[in-house]
């Protein structure tokens, strides 16, 4: 029995998403990435003596919207609390967060795996809090452990965050990956967050444990932090699961701790001894009055919710007959989904549209390092036009690859490319027969073999004919005519 069959993996994720606002959560400083250090700061977000927080309306709006999109119950009464701990990026030495009365609780989201299987994952809560500042470690490696000194930049301090805590419902790194993708899609659909992992606007910590299959009680959980991409989350979980299984097999006790993922070394390492036990001494934030959300307020926000990723995917499946996996990929972001829908409608060929987008277009974008589909020169109109050319047999699927290649680079009209490059498909029987005759004449030995019963050699002949026609001959016609000529 392999270890994977012996142990069940249990994963819960904590996602921190920076919210899309003009200003910080408790002051009017700009919420913007990339400015010179300590320029977007004021007495409030520097935590200067005498300063007081004032809550940004938009943060509540975003949090309620995200909560609703994640199928949560919105709390009618909610409050802020102080989480007390010392760290140089936390200027008040407490973080204003929400402890026992978060804005949203008890939600879920559904994930769909490659096999098209749907799984529902629970969301424990979503709460609002302020981000900490950023530390720059003065060392060649940039690693905290090597730094003799560090610099603090409070620009990020006070940026609004939604912390989304899942139930321990994930059973593999793949589940975790899909969960994260789903959370990201939802937050982007609702325009609540940019979810840009490179800029740190989406961060994720994982709680990982294992237990023998059949055991009810959860194993000792290890918290893994510092994973800065979805792929790293997957790798870190795989590494950590393997580590824990090996320990369990060796009869060693797994200890509850926080470990950091080191992407360079592809390992997690213990943070033990860093701060000792946490005792955050949460208590209600007296500087901020309670929040009450009326049914009317919640309903107004509910009405603003767009069609969400999963709803859209389900619609794509029923309306366009797409496979579940394709529908999932195409609905991961609104612009991509919109792109697909336009192409599908203009071309009236949804499956062909999906194939071209999922295959050639996304591959090309990936290769070019382009993430924004709206910047791609191949507009939905042009792609639809090209699909039309395939459909009416002006070009073959193979020729279309050449046309697409050109179109991606230049943004030219597909018809124009076909015309200029002389790529129009030959459907004239006479012209094709001429080519066939030429090829038959040049390959008497093979012709003889075919006639002698070795039908497999037909493929070679077809290839030669297509080559001779520079790929322009209609492959079906070639096949038909050749068979006739050779009498097979």
């Amino acid at each position: 029995m392999s270890l994977k069959e012996k142990y069940e993996i249990v994963i819960g994720l904590e996602v921190h998403a920076e919210l899309n606002t003009k200003t910080k959560i408790f002051c009017g400083c700009k919420n913007e990435f990339g400015a010179e250090a300590n320029t977007y700061v004021c007495p409030n977000c520097l935590g200067l003596p005498g300063s007081l927080p004032v809550f940004n309306k938009q943060v509540l709006h975003h949090a309620v919207k995200a909560g609703l999109a994640l199928n949560c119950t919105i709390a009618h009464k909610s409050k802020f609390d102080r989480k007390n701990y010392y760290y140089p990026d936390l200027p008040k030495a407490y973080q204003i967060s929400q402890f026992d009365m978060p804005i949203a609780v008890k939600g879920y989201l559904d994930i769909v795996n490659k096999q098209g299987e749907k799984k529902r994952l629970g969301i424990t809560r979503l709460h609002m809090e302020e981000d900490a500042g950023k530390l720059i470690h003065l060392t060649k490696t940039g690693q905290i452990a090597d730094a003799e000194e560090s610099l603090v930049d409070y620009n990020r301090g006070g940026v609004p965050l939604a912390e989304i805590v899942s139930e321990p419902d994930m059973r593999s790194s793949e589940d975790a990956y899909l969960y994260l993708s789903a959370v990201k899609a939802i937050l982007k659909y609702t325009n609540v967050s940019d979810c840009n992992m490179e800029e740190g606007s989406l961060r994720c910590d994982a709680n990982i444990s294992i237990r023998p299959f059949g055991q009810e009680k959860l194993g000792v959980k290890v918290e893994v932090k510092n994973m800065n991409s979805f792929n790293n989350v997957r790798k870190a979980i795989d590494y950590e699961v393997e580590r824990q299984m090996q320990m369990a097999e060796a009869g060693e006790a797994i200890i509850q701790e926080t470990r950091l993922w080191d992407a360079g070394k592809a390992k997690t390492f213990s943070m033990r001894g860093k701060e000792g036990a946490h005792d955050y001494r949460y208590f209600p934030e007296p500087d901020l009055p309670i929040l009450e959300t009326s049914a009317e307020y919640i309903n107004t926000i509910k009405a603003e919710l767009p069609e969400l990723p999963l709803q859209k995917a389900e619609r794509f499946i029923s309306q366009y007959g797409l496979p579940a996996y394709d529908a999932g990929v195409l609905t991961s972001e609104i612009p991509l989904a919109d792109y697909f829908e336009k192409v599908a409608k203009l071309s009236a060929e949804p499956k062909l549209s999906s194939n071209w987008i999922m295959g050639d277009l996304l591959a090309k974008m990936n290769e070019a390092g382009e993430a924004d589909i709206e910047k791609v020169k191949v507009t939905p109109e042009k792609l639809a036009k090209m699909l039309g050319l395939i459909k009416n047999a002006t070009i073959s699927g193979k020729i279309a690859k050449t046309v697409f290649e050109d179109m991606y680079a230049t943004g030219n009209d597909p018809e124009q490319i076909v015309k200029e490059k002389g790529l129009v498909q030959i459907t004239d029987t006479k012209a094709i027969e001429e080519v066939i005759d030429k090829v038959i004449a040049a390959n008497p030995a093979i012709v003889a073999e075919i006639k002698g019963g070795k039908v497999q050699a037909m493929g070679f002949m077809t290839g030669q004919i297509m080559k001779e026609s520079k790929g322009k001959a209609n492959p079906q016609l070639v096949n038909e005519l050749l068979k006739k000529k050779l009498g097979v």
């Binding site: 009017g28 977007y40 530390l135 470690h137 610099l151």
Partner: protein, 94 residues
């Protein structure tokens, strides 16, 4: 609930105070006396009472999401003990 020297050491650490041996003894005694007095509260029946967080209860005090000017650079760093490259410099963290 008597407070021990060990408790005092723990809360001094949590409070980030490097107190002296002498202070440990003094605070153990003084905090014990205060807490002994405070323990009187345990006798009050508060079964149906909600904890009071605010002296005067208010709700939904919020501001618009509108940018306000941030502090000038020289004001940000005017009182800083150590700065470099527009950052507040601190010693080794771990």
């Amino acid at each position: 609930m008597a407070i021990t020297k060990k408790d005092v050491e723990y809360i001094a650490h949590l409070s980030r105070l490097e107190i002296t041996e002498e202070e440990k003894v003094m605070y153990t005694e003084q905090l014990s006396n205060i807490l002994e007095h405070v323990n009187k509260l345990q006798a009050v029946n508060t079964d149906k009472v909600e904890p009071m967080i605010y002296a005067i209860e208010m709700k939904n005090v919020m501001r618009e999401d509108v940018v306000k000017p941030s502090l000038d650079k020289q004001k940000v760093f005017a009182a800083a003990p150590s700065i470099e490259n527009n950052g507040f410099k601190v010693p080794k963290i771990i």
